[in-house]
């Protein structure tokens, strides 16, 4: 055990104290956060401080649009029609960024145009749309009914006819949440691929420079293999944890300082509603606001549930695939050898990504059910399933997947240990499937 730890520690030091590792450790999360920021910003491009002129010749809105001030949005009223050309070129109108034209028959035809000078950001568009719709609602209620605003909004709620499978009655085909699982599964697959290749290259390099002969004169090949898998895995895990912590902190800072205006409570300010209707309006606002990325990341990820299982499956999947990579590395005759066996393994990992994609789109398919019991696809399948939610009483399926993966990892480790022992001191041959089987049976 001590030898395994010593080898692991050497592997960790060889990787972690390298400048490239530190760079990836810091730049990786920065890159992801930058991508996320750009993604959000791309969806929010356009003018952000807007002064809107509302032309309301019929005085439909009665000079009111919202009860509170929005720092980014100002409204002014004119009680006459305004030609576009006049608005566009007229000197008194140059201070306005947009013209909202409320025709006199708006309560019947429900048609309103807003003409802008420069493109307005999505958030501003949504905010204007939301505020205006609420105001029109209030006018409609006042004109045509005796209902209160709250009662009207309760009645107005659309009927939600939700199609759900009888095998999964508590949850629907929640594609959005499925993508979160797909994201976690992809991280497992990509890290496994990246660090699996690192094991393979490490073993092949040690074979090529013959240090392996000194090593196996001191420790058993199985100890050498385990030390390598654990060491490289620890470096991978450290990178993953640090990256996740940095990303989570970054997302928190984004939420607090950069995207604060995207969050619900602030955005509802300025809308004339009673407390009772706030929840309904929140749902309504959530529906209309056009930033799924923020919604997905901040509202839909149940980190407390996802993270423990993510790390559990990451570790076992890494050992499972890592054993494959190490046995191929040990069986290679030279550093450039082994492509013939690396390709199928990489294809299996890519297939896993495809399987996850398919599962998000078709979560109830038989294929999806099978994938969670196949060790190669289980890490991805379970992450997707978990994010969508297991049906009540079916949580044990997750543990079955885990046990199958764990047992498979042990079996592959045992086989890899044998191949490692038999093939590590063979040099200069061409690697083939036949030789792998031969080494598996040789003691």
């Amino acid at each position: 055990m001590n030898s395994i730890l010593l080898i692991s520690w050497k592997e960790i030091k060889q990787r972690v104290f390298k400048r490239s590792y530190t760079l990836v450790l810091v730049l990786g999360p920065i890159f992801i956060l930058t991508c996320f920021y750009l993604l959000v910003k791309a969806a929010d491009e356009g003018k952000k401080n807007v002064h809107v002129l509302i032309a309301d010749p019929g005085d439909i809105l009665r000079g009111v649009i919202s009860s509170k001030e929005d720092p980014n949005l100002r409204y002014s009223f004119v009680s006459d029609y305004l030609e576009i050309d006049e608005f566009s070129k007229g000197k008194p109108y140059q201070e306005f960024d947009a013209l909202l034209e409320v025709n006199e028959k708006v309560l019947n035809n429900k048609k309103v145009f807003i003409f802008y000078r420069d493109y307005l950001s999505n958030r501003i568009q949504n905010s204007i749309r939301f505020t205006f719709e609420r105001r029109i609602e209030e006018v409609l209620i006042d004109e045509f009914s005796d209902l209160t605003v709250d009662d009207f909004r309760q009645l107005k709620q659309p009927l939600n006819l939700d199609f759900r499978s009888i095998t999964n009655p508590t949850n629907s085909n929640d594609g959005e949440a499925g993508w979160v699982g797909y994201f976690f599964g992809s991280i497992i697959i990509l890290f496994t691929l990246f660090y699996g290749m690192s094991i393979l290259r490490g073993v092949a390099r040690e074979k090529a420079n013959r240090v392996v002969e000194v090593m196996v004169s001191i420790v058993s090949p199985t100890q050498l293999m385990m030390g390598k898998i654990i060491g490289v895995g620890a470096a991978a895990l450290l990178q993953l944890v640090v990256s996740l912590v940095l990303i989570v902190c970054g997302l928190y800072l984004f939420q607090e300082f950069l995207f604060s205006d995207f969050f619900l409570n602030q955005s509802l300010s300025g809308v004339q509603v009673s407390e009772g209707a706030t929840e309904l309006l929140q749902n309504e606002f959530q529906r209309v606001r056009n930033n799924d990325v923020i919604h997905l990341l901040y509202d839909r990820i149940n980190l407390a549930l996802m993270l423990p299982f993510f790390f559990l499956f990451f570790l076992v999947a890494y050992i499972f695939y890592g054993a494959f990579f190490s046995l191929i590395g040990a069986a290679m005759g030279s550093e450039g050898d082994g492509q013939v066996l690396i390709l199928p393994l990489v294809l299996l990992l890519l297939f896993s990504l495809f399987a996850g994609y398919f599962m998000v789109l078709n979560p109830s398919s038989q294929f999806s059910s099978i994938c969670q019991y196949i060790p190669f696809t289980a890490p991805m399948a379970v992450m997707v399933k978990l994010s969508m939610g297991y049906a009540l009483g079916e949580g044990y399926l997750l543990w079955i997947s885990f046990l199958i993966l764990l047992l498979s990892a042990f079996v592959i480790l045992a086989i890899a240990g044998k191949v490692f022992q038999s093939s590590l001191l063979s040099f200069g041959h061409r690697l083939s499937l036949k030789s792998l089987f031969r080494w598996r049976t040789r003691v």
Binding site: S3, L6, V211, E213, V214, V443
Partner: protein
């Protein structure tokens, strides 16, 4: 020290060692000789538990060779291998710790050998930045850093300059004097003759000879004489009659010639002197000692002719 008893090892039905039995005596330097493919590397790997015998057993200090004994064995393989991105200090400490030394012991031993092998200036250099000779020294240090009882050295002096060869040879004799056992595998016969007290000769996976150097030389008496004489070559050749065959001769200085002769039948030095007296003036005569190379080639040829 090491007892190898009826050991056989095959790879895919190809026999690498066949019923090998021998003893490597404690506190001696034993030379392991054999042509390529004789089974030397397989035997060395068996002693390091890198392979396991199909038949027979190996004993270390009277006990069946086990993993625990590896802490008392140092191994320098023929194909050198170190971690290229570790420094000299890190390399030695790592291998010492793997061999069971504590962190403090490993550091102290690494420091000792770095100084002893004159590598202080390279202590923090990575292996990939060292010269071949310096890397060889580190490799040698890796084999001895844990102060093993038994050292297996495969071509230990290859790649060293004469100064370092001398340094390593002195160290090996120091080890021997300290009671350590050394197995020296090499193709350099002269080196074995100079350094080893015992020799094991392997051929085609079998032990051809395993004895002390003295016994080996005693068994192989030379048929050659060397004569230094003053006189004419014709007179010398005529004096040999049919008892001795002139192999070659070389004029050393004016009138003095050294000749190498092969005796025929059971002739002795006395017979040679009797033949030559009166024909040439004999300056010196002696029986030529066989060298290890001659014995090695002779033994292998004899086996192949059988």
């Amino acid at each position: 020290m090491i007892e190898i008893s009826h050991v056989s090892k095959s790879f895919r039905r190809k026999s690498a060692l066949n019923n090998v039995s021998l003893n490597i005596p404690k506190g001696k330097i034993t030379g392991l000789l054999g042509p390529n493919g004789a089974g030397k590397t397989t035997l060395i790997r068996l002693m390091n538990l890198m392979y396991f015998p199909d038949d027979g057993y190996l004993k270390f200090n009277g006990q069946l060779l086990k993993k625990e004994h590896l802490k008392n064995i140092g191994y320098l393989p023929e194909e050198r291998g170190l971690y290229p991105d570790l420094s000299v200090q890190e390399q030695l400490t790592f291998f010492a710790r793997l061999r069971g030394l504590s962190n403090a012991e490993a550091t102290s031993s690494a420091n000792y050998w770095i100084e002893k092998l004159e590598m202080k200036a390279w202590r923090n250099k990575e292996i990939e930045s060292l010269s071949k000779g310096m890397a060889q020294k580190v490799q040698f240090a890796v084999a001895i850093v844990h102060d093993p009882e038994f050292l297996i050295l495969d071509e230990p002096l290859t790649g060293f300059d004469p100064m370092n060869i001398d340094l390593i040879k002195r160290l090996l004799f120091e080890f021997k004097d300290a009671g350590k056992t050394i197995l020296l595998s090499t193709h350099n016969m002269q080196r074995v003759q100079d350094m080893c007290s015992h020799v094991v000769l392997l051929n085609k996976g079998e032990v051809v000879s395993a004895s002390s150097i003295g016994d080996l030389f005693k068994d192989y008496v030379s048929n050659h004489f060397v004569v230094r004489y003053k006189g004419t070559g014709i007179a010398f050749a005529n004096a040999l009659w049919t008892d001795f065959e002139l192999v070659n001769q070389l004029e050393l200085s004016d009138g003095i010639t050294e000749a190498r002769l092969l005796k025929r039948g059971e002739k002795s030095v006395d017979d040679l002197i009797k033949n030559l007296q009166g024909n040439v003036a004999i300056e010196a005569v002696h029986m030529e000692q066989p060298n290890l190379e001659d014995i090695f080639i002779g033994l292998i040829e004899k086996l192949e002719n059988e």
